[in-house]
């Protein structure tokens, strides 16, 4: 019987929540938490579960990888699963980073699942198989089922079909494919030509990847003459969250007056806190300047390095927020900045 190993974060590995996101990597020689579901559906035995805190991977990636590869050195396994990570960005990043390292080191198929909005998808889809997943753990069964069905195909030596048929995110790996209906290129070319001429829809056989970069903005010539604004996706807001920014999947942003302070006071002082659900709030609550460095900027203003720190800082929450929403909020914030003559921005994220 083939053997499988599953990677989970601290939550799905039943260690705890955000408070233990720093949990050190460990391996258990049994099925823990979500690993049990894999075992039920897979044509293989899940022999081990690897558990690691999302923040541990986030801040000590190399060490996490080293230690986990170390755990696996003497283990026999035919396939490796990571996640599903749903929309959790740090978990997606961890699944991808760990999965990629395992694939490179042990050359076994590595399969994960993430929601299409998870930044881990774009980062790691070329390195491991990532299946499109749900937004939350409500989709656990569906997501694991998709992963396992594909895993079983591999384990049983079945012929693997192109990505669009198997269902995982395109990896940027292209191979030649004999069309079952044997339509020759001349037929496909004419068909495409006539459609294009007649403004009908067609599908190019080689989609040119979109080059998604923005033109680099010109550098500032003289910082001491301009106003710089702070923007954050770390969710720092006044103690009562007056704009009711969501803690995840945000669609709202706020701007907060700081012209009369040298630094952000903290939660205890009933001034600022974080509402971002994606990371342990303790450090941010104790000192919000760790996320929105008002104090440092105020000092630079004092010594004349910058002309002025803009009177507001802008805030929203980055976790779970869709690219579409983030773009919209970015546009709205930008409009205000332009209106008010802000010429540069430092954007902090968590």
């Amino acid at each position: 019987m083939s053997k499988a190993i599953v990677y989970l974060n601290q939550f799905f590995g039943q260690i705890g929540g955000e408070d233990v996101a720093d949990h050190e990597p460990e391996i258990r020689d049994k099925k823990v938490g979500a690993a049990m579901l894999y075992d039920q559906l897979l044509d293989a035995d899940v022999t081990h579960t690897i558990i690691c805190g999302d923040n541990f991977v986030g801040s000590k990636e190399e060490e996490a990888i080293d230690r986990i590869l170390g755990f696996l050195e003497d283990k026999e396994f035919d396939i490796f699963f990571a996640g599903p990570a749903f929309q959790a960005g740090r978990y997606g990043n961890a699944c991808g980073a760990i999965g990629k390292a395992v694939k490179e080191e042990f050359d076994v198929p590595v399969i994960s699942s993430m929601n299409e909005e998870n930044p881990g998808v774009d980062m790691y889809k070329k390195d491991i198989y990532i299946f499109p997943g749900g937004q939350s753990a409500a989709k656990m069964k569906d997501d694991v089922t998709k992963m396992v069905e594909f895993g079983n195909k591999i384990l049983n030596g079945e012929k693997l079909l192109p990505a669009e048929e198997e269902g995982y995110f395109i990896r940027g790996i292209r191979h030649q494919y004999f069309l079952p209906d044997e339509t020759p290129a001349y037929e496909r070319a004419i068909d495409m030509l006539l459609k294009k001429i007649n403004n009908e829809e067609y599908v190019s056989e080689l989609p040119i990847p979109e080059l998604d970069t923005v033109k680099i903005a010109d550098p500032i010539e003289d910082l001491s003459k301009i106003t710089v604004a702070l923007v954050t996706s770390g969710g720092i807001v006044p103690i009562d969250n007056p704009d009711r920014i969501q803690s995840a999947s945000a669609t709202r942003w706020g701007k907060y007056y700081i012209d009369d302070v040298d630094q952000l006071q903290n939660r205890r002082q009933e001034a600022f806190k974080t509402i971002h659900a994606g990371y342990d709030p303790a450090a941010a609550d104790t000192d919000p300047n760790r996320v929105v460095p008002v104090d440092a900027m105020r000092k630079y203003e004092e010594v004349g390095k910058i002309g002025k720190l803009y009177k507001y800082f802008y805030s929203t929450v980055g976790t779970g927020t869709t690219q579409g929403e983030a773009a919209r909020m970015g546009q709205e914030i930008t409009e205000e900045l332009l209106e008010d003559g802000v010429q540069a921005v430092i954007l902090t994220s968590t």
């Binding site: 070329k126 693997l160 192109p162 990505a163 669009e164 395109i170 990896r171 940027g172 790996i173 292209r174 191979h175 030649q176 494919y177 004999f178 069309l179 044997e182 339509t183 020759p184 290129a185 001349y186 037929e187 496909r188 070319a189 004419i190 495409m192 030509l193 006539l194 294009k196 001429i197 007649n198 067609y202 190019s204 056989e205 080689l206 040119i208 990847p209 979109e210 080059l211």
Partner: protein, 441 residues
């Protein structure tokens, strides 16, 4: 101009006392045929074989494929090459169908040569496994290039053309099974109905990479490297104006057979007068220097625009740096307001992860992909090898090697082979036959 192609379907081929064609049977007088081959003293050794679809035969190194034809009104099948210059594409030419003459080196291969399996798993990788083939396998005294990776293969290729013309003569005075008529009125004299249809040009980019003569595709005998893009009648391409060169890494190559039968042109003809107004062919090229690439793209776009083309099909005989010409040409045409569809292969590497074309542009939004140059192929040994199997590993064929850290030699002791699609003879069938595409895996 009106071209009538009189087709004779060859059902079987055998050696006999006289070279004749009767009721589908091509009989070849081997001795007489070889005399024709030996006319060039540079040919030192030659033999003829007959292979048919399904035969467990492997041919390597394959240098050329030609369709035997005969001009009813007289004249060389390849004007400017096998005889004097004359206008091609206007008149009646008789053709032997369902077969070809293949030219195979007795020993020495090169970057531009390829492999054909007539049967088994490997048959699907080339078009020629579907044809009955008369195989000329020969050696020459062209010592200067015996050990060169880049070969002109001059003696062998011209011998193949001679042989094809000799066989074609067997059709003289015979009634074809069917006649295909190819005709286009002069552009400005077409009927209102036809003129109102969307007008389309076929842009061909034949390979012309080498600066030294002897390697590139020829246009009425003129080296395509020395050409500026020009306007040609499609009948000229179908009737022997273009011959293949000896350079292109083989799966991207258009053999002379491909030129004579160019499926993309024939398919456009089918639509002419119905859904499109087929203007004609813009014959471009694929020179190496950046400025020359730009100049060709400029000429193609200007000509297309001035001819009033609404759309263009662009086919690239190559991969690698010629991709820059391909994309450059597509972009220049799109910028000139001509809607384009491109046809070419990709080179995504053995792992499939490399950029498919060396140059990419979002304006090239309608592309047909006919195969992957880099696809790794493993095939079992074949009962018979015509040519020399070792050439695949030894002679620097584009898809073969003698020493790979992981895969070892392309040719294994038991005769099985591991190679890249790159060396499948005209394997990516960019001229139009390809039933392959590229998919994300």
């Amino acid at each position: 101009m009106k071209l009538e192609l009189g087709n004779f379907h060859v059902e079987d081929i055998e050696f006999g006392n006289e070279t004749t064609f009767n009721d589908g049977l091509l009989t070849i007088d081997k001795e007489e045929a070889l005399e024709v081959v030996y006319k060039d003293e540079h040919i030192t050794e030659a033999d003829l074989k007959i292979v048919k679809p399904g035969d467990m035969v492997r041919l390597v190194p394959v240098k050329e494929a030609i369709e035997p034809r005969y001009r009813e009104e007289g004249g060389p099948v390849f004007p400017g090459v096998t005889g004097d210059l004359m206008q091609a594409g206007d008149g009646r030419t008789l053709a032997m169908k369902d077969m070809s003459v293949l030219v195979v080196g007795k020993h020495w291969g090169g970057f531009q040569d390829g492999l054909i399996d007539m049967g088994g798993e490997g048959a699907k990788y080339t078009y020629f496994s579907q044809l009955k083939n008369v195989v000329l396998v020969a050696d020459t005294d062209e010592d200067f290039e015996k050990h060169e990776q880049q070969k002109k293969n001059r003696a062998l290729r011209w011998a193949g053309m001679r042989l094809s013309e000799y066989l074609g003569k067997a059709l003289k005075d015979k009634e074809p099974d069917e006649v295909e008529t190819y005709t286009l009125d002069p552009i400005t004299k077409r009927s209102e109905e036809v003129s109102e249809l969307p007008s389309v040009v076929m842009v061909m980019q034949p390979q012309s990479q080498m600066e030294e003569p002897g390697y590139n595709d020829l246009n009425y005998g003129w080296d395509t490297n020395n050409m500026l893009p020009t306007f040609m009648h499609p009948n000229e391409v179908l009737d022997g104006a273009m011959i293949s060169g000896s350079f292109m890494p083989c799966s991207s190559k258009w053999s002379t057979y491909d030129m004579q039968n160019f499926p993309l042109i024939r398919r456009l003809y089918e639509e002419h007068g119905e859904t499109i107004n087929f203007i004609g062919v813009i014959m471009s090229n694929l020179n190496v220097a950046m400025e020359q690439k730009e100049r060709s793209a400029q000429f193609v776009a200007q000509m297309a625009k001035s001819l009033g083309a609404d759309a263009a099909l662009v086919a690239e005989e190559g991969y690698g740096n010629p991709d820059a010409d391909y994309i450059g040409c597509l972009v220049a045409l799109e910028d000139a307001g001509v809607k384009t569809v491109g046809v070419s292969n990709e080179a995504t590497g053995r792992d499939g992860g490399s950029q498919p074309l060396v140059s990419l542009d979002p304006k090239a939004d309608a592309l047909v992909s006919t195969g992957n140059v880099s696809e790794l192929i493993k095939l079992p040994p074949m009962d018979t090898v015509i040519g020399e199997l070792e050439a695949l590993a030894r002679d620097g064929l584009s898809g073969g090697w003698d020493d790979d850290e992981v895969l070892g030699s392309s040719v294994k002791k038991d005769g099985s082979i591991v190679m890249e699609n790159n060396s499948m003879f005209c394997g990516d069938q960019i001229a139009g036959w390809s039933t392959k595409t590229m998919k994300e895996y």
